[in-house]
Structure formats: structure tokens, C-alpha cells
Symmetry: none
Subunit: 152 residues, 2 copies
DNA sequence: ATTTTAACCCACTATTAACCACTTATCTTA
DNA sequence: TAAGATAAGTGGTTAATAGTGGGTTAAAAT
């Protein structure tokens, strides 16, 4: 699935006393005028929050609509991804309030790391991300498989 | 994957007090007008930084966009490669500021060596590169294997 | 009605990027 | 080969903006 969005980079911030998080200006500036500062934030597959610009989210919704609810896997998957989806806007300063349910899910304390992953933005507990960095590596075999698809 | 870019040569510089690095004029001049002084700098596979002109990087990005984030291997791979990718421009003087994360990764101190490697430019700690030069040689067997692919 | 919560607005600070000026090197031409 | 001219590389200052904190008002809930 191709997208107009190609978020990249890593940025570290603190969540403030009002549970506000700053979206890095570099990523914020990429938001199209069509998206009007509006985005969807939901549970990531890992223990982080995923942010999609609203137009991007609508594309995903279209794909999700193709999945039949007769399949149990589909039902669970759809439920988990849709029930935690919040439509938000960032304020004049480029911040938004992170919903409590996502603070819990992503174990957000104070130090957060925001990373761009093409069509989405991930919000992580900084120390959690560092841990995963060390433990979850791509093994050589998987790299070999990837090398057949991606020429980097 | 063939490219319009054929960077070659080796150049030595100092990184200045503001973490600025000069891109050698010889390489800089090759940047197409389409690239508008814009490039992506990211982690190399060795302990150096890789610079891709933005149009080159977009080719890579297109390939990355084909990978679904529902696969765990894909997620890890995408995260690790994209989070360290910074989109930058060089200034009027032909310099750019090297992000701290890459200074750390490539152990950049003061003396740096910039080398052209076809479609990308590598930024090295000079002494580190010299060390690797001595220790990491291509053995005869590997050369034989290469000879089947490259006619030099 | 009172308390709590969230949205909005304003202001300060720190960082970054743009700008300017100078030195050194290279190229050209007499 | 020398001298001028042009380009490359280096350093610092200024201006813009990104990030942060807090206060006020509006809304919601008890």
C-alpha cells in the first residue's frame, strides 16, 4: 500500500503534567492541508501507540471493511484495532492529550520517544523501546529473506 | 537497481563545534537539480553514516512501503531503519548538521572521512576507517565469488 | 451549584537554521 | 610562473521557530 506519507526519524520528549505530547515539528509539517491537523491514535501491534493522519486512517478502514466478521481472527483483530481508536487534533502548539487508555497500554511514564515509520507515527515509552531494541533483533535468515524483496 | 549517481573518491574534514560537516564540493556538485540539496542520512550497516540523495532514498522507500506491519520481522526491520533516517538539506556553504544519534553510532570525534560509494556517500570516523581498512580484507574465495557477478 | 476536567491562549526559553564575513585553496590567464 | 580571480572551506552572529510551562476560560460531571 503506497502512501503520500513517509514519516522518518526519532525524537524524544517528555509528556507534561497535563498528559500532553508534542508532535515533532518535522513530522507535523508533513500533514497535508486536507488532514487539518486531524489524526487517529490507536493501539499499535507492539506496546506503543500508532498515529495515522486521518486520510491515511480512512484508507486502512477501507481495507478493514474487506475482512469478513465470520472469521474469529478477523473479529478479534477488528475489535482491538477499532475500539481504541481516538480521533484527535493537535493544538496551536502542535500538542495533543494522550488518552489514559493508551498511556496504560504503552506504559507511558515521562520520557517518550516518537518515531516515524512511513505512513504512521509511533509513540513509545523510551526505556521500553530501548529494551526492545536489544532483545528483538532481525535474525540473519530473516534478513536474507528481506534482501530478496528490499534492495537497500 | 541502477542509479544516476556514481559517487567516488575520499575526502577528509573536521566536524566543527556545531556538529556541522562539509560535503565535498566534488560530490555536492553531482546532486541533481531535482534533489534540491536534499538528502537522507541514516545508519550504515557498518559503523558509519550513509547519505542518499532524496530521489535515491525515495526508491528505497517505495520498496519499504510494500512491507506490511502485521509481520513482526517487518515491523522490527522498518522501525530500525526508518527511525535513524533524517531528511536534511545542506546549507549555502554546503554543510549540514550531523544528528547526535549518528555521531554516537559512528563514533564521530573530530576527524572524519567522507567516501563516495556509487549511489551513496559514507561518513566515517577517520581512525575507525583506517583500522577497518587493515583488519577487514576480502579473502580470495570471496573475490572468486564476486568475480562471477562483477566484471572489473 | 460546585468541583473537576479539558480546551484554548499567551509567554518564555532554548535550540536550530539562516545569514554574513573571512581565510585558504585552486584555477585561469597573462 | 606569478598574480588575479574564483571557488571551497571555516567560523561566528543573528534571527526564527520549536518546545515547554502555566494560566484562564469553557465545558462537563457530580
Amino acid at each position: 500500500m503506497s502512501s503520500q506519507y513517509t514519516f522518518t526519524g526519532q525524537y524524544t520528549f517528555n509528556i507534561d503534567s497535563k498528559n500532553r505530547i508534542n508532535i515533532p515539528a518535522a513530522l507535523r509539517k508533513q500533514f497535508s492541508s486536507k488532514d487539518k491537523k486531524t489524526f487517529v491514535i490507536t493501539r499499535g501491534v507492539d506496546n506503543c501507540a500508532w498515529i495515522y493522519p486521518i486520510t491515511e486512517w480512512k484508507k486502512i478502514q477501507n481495507e478493514l471493511q474487506q475482512l469478513s466478521s465470520l472469521s474469529k481472527t478477523n473479529r478479534i483483530f477488528l475489535r482491538n484495532h477499532l475500539r481504541h481508536a481516538n480521533i484527535l487534533k493537535f493544538d496551536k502548539q502542535g500538542r495533543f492529550v494522550l488518552p489514559q487508555s493508551l498511556i496504560d497500554y504503552a506504559s507511558i511514564k515521562k520520557d517518550i520517544t516518537i518515531i516515524g515509520v512511513l505512513n504512521k507515527i509511533e509513540v513509545w515509552n523510551s526505556t521500553l523501546l530501548q529494551k526492545i531494541d536489544k532483545t528483538e533483533k532481525v535474525d540473519d535468515q530473516s534478513y536474507d529473506q528481506l534482501s530478496e524483496r528490499v534492495n537497500i
